[in-house]
Subunit: 423 residues, 2 copies
């Protein structure tokens, strides 16, 4: 759809067409065309039963982020990134896919969950499964041994997650790593601080940070007579035990392992384990317990996607009104024929850095302009009218209280800043 | 590598493991293991000539973003997002891949450039080729007709771009679209303003915004007797003409089309075209020229990846020192045995929202601590020593000037804020 009535316009940046005219085949009117095309195709194919049915959907295990969900996502990322920056971390990014061979042999039986790209000639590629292997590849490639970096990006796993619990096939990971030559436990203390700062900042309520050391569990297995080759398999079994309960396996050590997983490490527990006649003989376990005693060898942060869905549910429950824009003021007019005056004023506001909107109508009704503010949560309306223009003022209306004041045009920006600055 | 000497610790968030112990197979020590594994594999395979050679690299046409490149990327995105928000835009996000059928028949001959995923059972998927079709799918799916949104994300094209000119197979697009029922040209005026604001803000020097209307070109083709079926092909040919020069094709109208592409629209040019006896008879061309006369039907923003590489080159040239962290102060100690005092002080600073770092050494030399600031561009050093602790002060050193002042501990935060606040 086209022309005056239904209407599209937009900006599109493409690395491929710098300073060249846009490829006509990609003009934004295409968007309108595509929408129609897709809906028609759906209508046409939707009907015919039996064979292939055309569905308008995102791929299994993925979702769009609506403006509302993006607002929540931004809130969470801001808390996290602010914290990482406060701790002087750098940030890196890597491609969404890697050479297949880079991922090969890194994930054991989980490798079946890797998304491979189709062989269309050239290199064999796979979507990243986590941010750890790409980070390792980055370090090896650039011979970096010393870095404190965070990396926030989507990763891809072809499993069957419970979407309702905030789990997807495309989901965010949010890694923070400190690598280098240090005296032990100092970076760990900082990691612990970071987790605590972020979770507190997000106000998710009480939280429990579980910590562990792989070598302790390995030591237990060794003492238990488990062959090295079986470690990883059993580890992931134990990992699942939290859900399936211990009794299922008849091995005391595994049950002990489970209890260890199940509770927060404390000096008393470490002491108890160090007193275990068998375990204390095991080099790995002893190392692990030693470092654990010194403090934590590793920390894991609560799943970021999970945090999204907790907050999304809370927002639903509380009926809290999430704003999807940050607009401070709507530039409105009381009478007709004031479009140019509205555009003139909003330009002044934009140039002063004020976040402002205007309705794209020649002669919008004042009521519909006020209604727009109610709907979108814009707190202020700057109203221009014949009289105000004569007097060199603008009528500033506070949407919530309906209070109206005339503000001299030259002090409007200051007034808006003052009224919209966070207390 | 492990334990005391070479050292790793980190946070990793995974939707899959909320509140559960981390999967042992994914512990960050893995990173160190993987780095070694990859380097060994490279050493082993790198040598054997003849068949398959293992290379440590990113896939063809992709790149990592180093902390330095990320700093530039952040600077550019901040300018753009700040502007979009100032104009009251919402933001959405979509999955990196779509159902293959959603992309089918949208890109004509360019379809061969689409990355397909391997059929591993389940749905057939492709990586997004642009943000336009996913946006169309999003609108159609949610029956949205009215939205002002931006979308900044990576898209994927299997062509052979000139990487040196800031073109990749994985590259960013940065779309801004206004859709809905409006009086014509008002949103276009805003788009023009936005482009101007962003390009000015980024200080890329003088710029020329090229504008066009597809219908005018289509009209020219129609008048030229080109069958509709050939339009798209010829369009992309004309699109390429900017490079290959016009003469190559013997059609005056195409050359005219090229000239039109080649220069900024002005009323005089529009008038000239409207006077063209043939063209003025063509409905499409007339509509297009009419709207063009009223203002612009569509604007295109300079390629975002291109902007990255321009700025990256400029930074190289100017030897401007790009900081990759925002750290305001390093907490240092003059004598040994002050680790706990350093950690105590830095916690106070973190809690006050100050961006601070500390070296992960029990007893670092003061010189090496100052050197670290020189290298990373940290402007201030807060030095704790026996005497300062007795006197309840901290010695604050300005790295650039080497000036040192004793600051009472309770006013340290204020002093740091004051000294690091932008003028």
């Amino acid at each position: 759809c086209w022309g005056g009535r239904e209407y599209w316009c937009g900006l599109e940046s493409r690395g491929a067409e710098v300073g060249l005219p846009p490829a006509p085949s990609l003009f934004p009117p295409q968007i309108a065309k595509e929408v129609t095309k897709l809906l028609e195709m759906k209508a046409r194919l939707g009907g015919d039963e039996g064979k292939h049915k055309f569905v308008l959907k995102t791929p299994k295990g993925t979702r769009d982020y609506s403006p509302k969900q993006m607002a929540i996502r931004e809130r969470v990322f801001n808390a996290i990134i602010t914290c990482f920056k406060r701790h002087g971390a750098e940030v890196i990014d890597t491609p969404v896919f890697e050479l297949k061979e880079t991922l090969t042999g890194k994930y054991g039986e989980d490798s079946k969950l890797i998304y491979d790209l189709k062989d269309q000639g050239g290199e064999l590629l796979s979507l990243r499964y986590d941010l750890t292997v790409p980070f390792a590849r980055y370090l090896a490639m650039n011979k970096i041994t010393n870095i404190k970096r965070y990396h926030i990006a989507k990763v891809y796993r072809r499993d069957n997650p419970a979407m309702t619990r905030g789990r997807y096939r495309e989901f965010y990971q949010c890694d923070f790593d400190i690598a280098g030559q240090f005296d032990p436990m100092i970076p760990d203390a900082e990691c612990l601080k970071i987790v605590h700062e972020i979770l507190s900042d997000l106000q998710l309520g009480d939280f429990l940070i579980k910590v562990n050391d792989r070598r302790i569990l390995d030591g237990m297995f060794a003492v238990c007579g488990v062959p090295d080759s079986k470690f990883r398999t059993i580890c992931s079994t134990v990992d699942k035990l939290d859900k399936v309960r211990a009794g299922a396996l008849g091995c005391n050590l595994i049950v002990l392992g489970l209890q260890v997983f199940g509770q927060l490490w404390g000096l008393d527990l470490i002491e108890r384990l160090l007193q275990d006649p068998k375990l204390s003989q095991n080099k790995l376990a002893k190392e692990g317990l030693g470092d654990m005693k010194l403090l934590f060898e590793y920390l894991t942060l609560i799943g970021i996607e999970r945090i999204f869905s907790i907050l999304e549910q809370r927002v639903e429950a509380s009926e809290e009104k999430i704003r999807t824009t940050e607009t401070q003021v709507l530039v409105a007019s009381a009478q007709k024929k004031l479009l140019e005056e509205r555009l003139k004023l909003i330009s002044e506001l934009w140039d002063a850095g004020i976040k402002a909107e205007v309705l794209y109508k020649k002669n919008p009704k004042l009521l519909s302009q006020l209604q727009y503010c109610e709907d979108t949560g814009i707190p202020l309306v700057a109203i221009v009218g014949e009289q105000e223009l004569k007097d060199g003022v603008v009528k500033l209306r506070v949407v919530a209280t309906r209070e109206e004041v005339n503000v001299r045009r030259e002090s409007l920006v200051e007034e808006i800043r003052m009224r919209t600055s966070r207390p």
